[in-house]
């Protein structure tokens, strides 16, 4: 129960951050990616602001033996830079540039009743299931 409440509060803070920073605004996102046109560097500051906090805090938090409300940290132990990672990231970037949305802002945008955010979230889920389907298929060969 406590963990669900914390997740809710963290989601709210995350949503406020996405809104204030305008990461939620697809024109702003495309302006940031448009380096060859009229470049709006604002979103680099979103990442800087977030990293200023997490680069210090994550190091301190991960020194603990365990999180406060859980028995262990759920952090990926993978270290290998492999093909699925790079190809997947490249595919994600193409979609990000086409739509102007990454997953967080698409969800938050639904809160603002922006109709295109609903369309993007639905399309993202189709992409999730397509990936699950194709990866189960390739394992069976």
């Amino acid at each position: 129960m406590a963990r669900n409440f914390i997740a809710l509060v963290c989601g709210i803070i995350f949503g406020l951050g996405l809104s204030l920073s305008q990461m939620i605004n697809p024109n702003k996102v495309i302006g940031f990616l448009d380096v060859a046109g009229k470049w709006d560097p604002s979103l680099a500051f979103v990442m800087m602001g977030a990293l200023l906090v997490t680069m210090i805090s994550f190091r301190l938090v991960l020194k603990r033996s365990r999180p406060i409300l859980e028995t262990g940290f759920h952090v990926s132990q993978k270290t290998k830079v492999d093909r699925p990672l790079l190809i997947g990231a490249a595919i994600f970037g193409i979609g990000w540039g086409m739509s102007g949305y990454c997953p967080g802002p698409a969800v938050a945008g639904m809160g603002l009743k922006i109709s295109e955010a609903f369309i993007v979230v639905a399309s993202i889920y189709v992409g999730f299931f397509a990936h699950k389907w194709t990866s189960s298929f390739s394992k069976n060969i």
Binding site: R3, G11, I12, I13, F14, G15, G17, L18, S19, S21, Q22, I24, P26, G31, L33, D34, G37, W39, D40, P41, S42, V46, G49, A50, L52, V53, T54, S57, F58, V61, I68, L69, E70, H74, V81, L85, L86, G88, A89, A90, I91, F92, G93, I94, G95, W96, G97, S99, G100, C102, V107, A108, L112, I119, S123, I124, V126, G127, F128, A130
Partner: protein, 146 residues
């Protein structure tokens, strides 16, 4: 390169980014979880039952955070008008497919992974930033849209 300085908002971007960093910190410190939105969204339908609720709560919070910001600052956003669906729908699909294949998105790799200097996250972030820029370039100059 030309800078778009009329729309440049470094301070709100920086503070907004710090709020995102705070959210990721609290989720890790208290729940031991990485605030990666694509992974959390995906887990809502795929994880075992006891793993679903915190994910639903986080996603509901994201939604509510945006709603409360809108209530405090009405008129802050002017939604984009009539963006072509043929870019929006395949774009969203590629975001979903690519974030699963690449194990993360802007938040999981870009903010959480880079914070612990994960090589995977650093490479993933450089890759999706570069392909995102290429994608916008091709749409704008190749197809002449947007």
């Amino acid at each position: 390169m030309e800078l778009n300085l009329e729309n440049f908002t470094p301070f709100s971007a920086l503070i907004g980014g710090m709020l995102i960093g705070l959210s990721a910190t609290l989720l890790l410190l208290l729940n031991g979880r990485i605030a990666g939105v694509s992974g959390i969204m995906n887990g809502i339908f795929l994880s075992p039952k006891q793993e679903k609720f915190w994910r639903i709560a986080f996603i509901a919070g994201l939604f509510l955070g945006a709603v409360s910001f809108q209530l405090m600052n009405p008129g802050f956003f002017s939604p984009r008008q009539e963006y072509p669906l043929w870019l929006l729908i395949p774009g969203g699909f590629l975001v979903g497919f690519g974030t699963r294949m690449g194990s993360g998105c802007t938040s999981g790799h870009g903010i959480c992974g880079i914070a612990i200097l994960s090589r995977r996250s650093i490479f993933a972030t450089l890759t999706f930033m570069a392909s995102g820029m290429l994608s916008v370039f091709l749409i704008r100059f190749g197809l002449g849209v947007v």
